[in-house]
Amino acid sequence: MHIHRRDLLKASVAGLAGLAGGVLALPRLAVAESAGAIKIGTICDLSGPLQPFGTQKLQCIQLAVEQINAAGGLLGKKVEVVSYDAQSNNQLFAQYAQQLALKDRVVVAHAGLQSSSREVIRPIFRRSNTLYFYNTPYEGGVCDGNAFCTGTTPGQLLANLLPFMIEKFGKKIYVLAADYNFGQLSEKWTRKIAQEHGAEVVASEFFPLDVNQFGPTIGKIQQAKPSFIVNTFVGPAHASFYGQWAGAGMKQDIPIASQTFGEGGEHLRMPAEISDGIYVCYNYFEELDAPANKAFLDAFRAKFGTDYGYISDLGMSEYVGVRLWAEGVKKAGSVDRAKVVSALESGIGMDAPGGRVVVEPKTHHCIFDMHIAQIKDRKFGILQSFKQVPPTNPGGVCDLVKNPNTNQQFEPKI
């Protein structure tokens, strides 16, 4: 049979059109629940300089989901985690946030480590109406109807650590901070809280995240003769400060209060002489002596064997974030965003391994027990505890119950 080229072309076009039409006519699969599972999304830094901080976050999320599924799942369905590695790169955070929101259609996203990454993805999740949990201690002030923050804020951390240090050591403070929004706003909080307690910040220095030589800084600190140092350093480059400080023989002379030290388990990977004596204030330590904590640590070690570092408030915040969200879903009886937000705003709480955690409805932040500790021999020794400290609300302005459409980060006014 003789096949004409034109006939072949016409036949192919018709066939393809029919095929395409058939495919498009298929009923759209509900993407958010494949085979009846509830999908939650997470973006963590599993490689790159932030690897020690991101790895524990994903592990805690996985443990929380495993425990939820073991107890029967949520609304009769299993919970599934869609996880992306942002490789310590904010561009990838943006890319994966879009993917979670638009391609994977997750019902909630637990994502973000650095405050810079949070401010990249928070608007993305808001635009796509994906409920967003930011589970990392930060500089406070986020007031976003679509977001919940389960990390500590300066009103809980600095507001307790600084008066402790001022009373113990004196009124002259030298601030060393990372040079991005977290460090800069935390420094403002330090100045504000110092002022409120009659102390003074004699100097503040900011360092980009890749600075690892602190010789001149150590000289300038010695010249200023402060009572103590407040240190808001982030990442491995900054962690070399402590070794250089000890190497210059300064450990006995001027104490250090750190807002971030130990969160990546750095103290386990350096000689004890370097980390001994540093003061911190977090809402969770592995060393906390409570039955709930022991049960958590046993479960964690059973799941991850020896393949884990120190679990700090970075990982614990993710665990608490996922569990609180699950409580919200149970109370709302649905994964629908508006219903879960209302349920969370009704004042949900849980008994976390570090103490009782309660969601504060007005700010979408959490009320925690806080503990001041000092490092000795690579272990945190708890010095003082504060029960149920409310989160920062700069100027008392944020009220998401009254104004649910607020979308701003408020800063302290000095």
Binding site: A246, G247, M270
Partner: protein, 288 residues
């Protein structure tokens, strides 16, 4: 008064660390005219070549002064044979190839070592300078930098191999006509540059720790120093290190480390504008 002493010591330290990270590149780029974009990663390998043996129990000084240079030097010779030699004279291809090597090394180190950085404190303790304290290791770095510069000078000027290497770099055809195995000279010279870079990475490792991306922090400064140094590899690097180290550190003391870096870059731009052939295009021409 004491503070002035601290500033002076820190300035000398800045000059020393700049010279250390640049001298290997000065030999590879200044003498051999090979653009090695993996230079920062050689520093990183030098750092790992001291931290890993120390974790396994080897003495710190042996690891730093013997193992690290040898290991990175050997690696450099392999790189020269496999990547650089087929591309001699082809500048763009060498840039691409060494940049690819740099990305590969960073990726491999990220996979193998990860970012769980071991914290270290510089050894040798501290001493009091008036009312201030300074680490003794700072003086060690200054001493090592001076020793390396002197050693390279003596090696190139006084030994037979140094003479042969200088001649081969100047005029390879003539050297080959006189019976020199130019391939072996290239390999050994590249290996020497790599070994010096490994030593620099090892010496700086106890101060700032080692992560896979630490090379990125150093590579820009190393290239700026070598290029602004000019044609004479050794005296150029020394002169440029003195100038930039001083500018960087003095401005850092007056303001912040960021402004110090900016000052270094501004100084480099002004220098190249005034002396396009680098410092030794005009001064110190009788050097090495």
């Amino acid at each position: 008064m004491d503070f002035a002493a601290i500033v002076l010591i820190q300035v000398l330290y800045a000059i020393a660390s700049l010279a250390l990270i640049s001298v290997g590149l000065a030999i590879i780029f200044g003498m051999m005219k090979v653009i090695n974009f993996a230079h920062g990663e050689f520093l990183m390998l030098g750092g790992y070549a001291v931290i890993l043996p120390v974790q396994a129990g080897v003495n710190l000084w042996i690891a730093m002064l013997i193992i690290a240079p040898l290991a990175v030097g050997l690696f450099g010779m392999i790189v020269e044979r496999v990547i650089i030699r087929p591309l001699y004279g082809r500048v763009i291809e060498t840039v691409l190839a060494t940049w690819g090597l740099s990305l590969f090394l960073i990726g491999a180190a990220s996979e193998i070592f990860g970012y769980f950085q071991e914290g270290t404190s510089p050894p040798l303790g501290s001493i009091a300078i008036g009312a201030y304290r300074e680490g003794v290791y700072t003086f060690f770095v200054i001493f090592i930098a001076a020793a390396v510069m002197a050693g390279v000078y003596l090696f190139l000027k006084r030994t037979r191999f140094g003479l042969v290497a200088l001649g081969t770099m100047q005029n390879p055809d003539m050297a080959a006509a006189l019976g020199v195995d130019t391939g072996k000279v290239y390999a050994l010279t590249f290996g020497l540059g790599a070994a010096l870079t490994g030593l620099a990475g090892a010496v700086l490792a106890p101060i700032s720790g080692v992560v896979p991306i630490i090379g990125i922090t150093y590579i820009a400064k190393a290239f700026i120093t070598v290029i602004c140094g000019g044609a004479m590899a050794l005296s150029g690097t020394a002169a440029a290190s003195v100038l930039f180290g001083t500018v960087n550190q003095v401005v850092t003391f007056l303001s912040t480390p960021i402004i110090g870096e900016v000052a270094l870059l501004v100084a480099a731009i002004i220098l190249l504008r005034l002396l396009p052939a680098g410092i030794t295009g005009r001064f110190f021409r009788s050097g090495l």
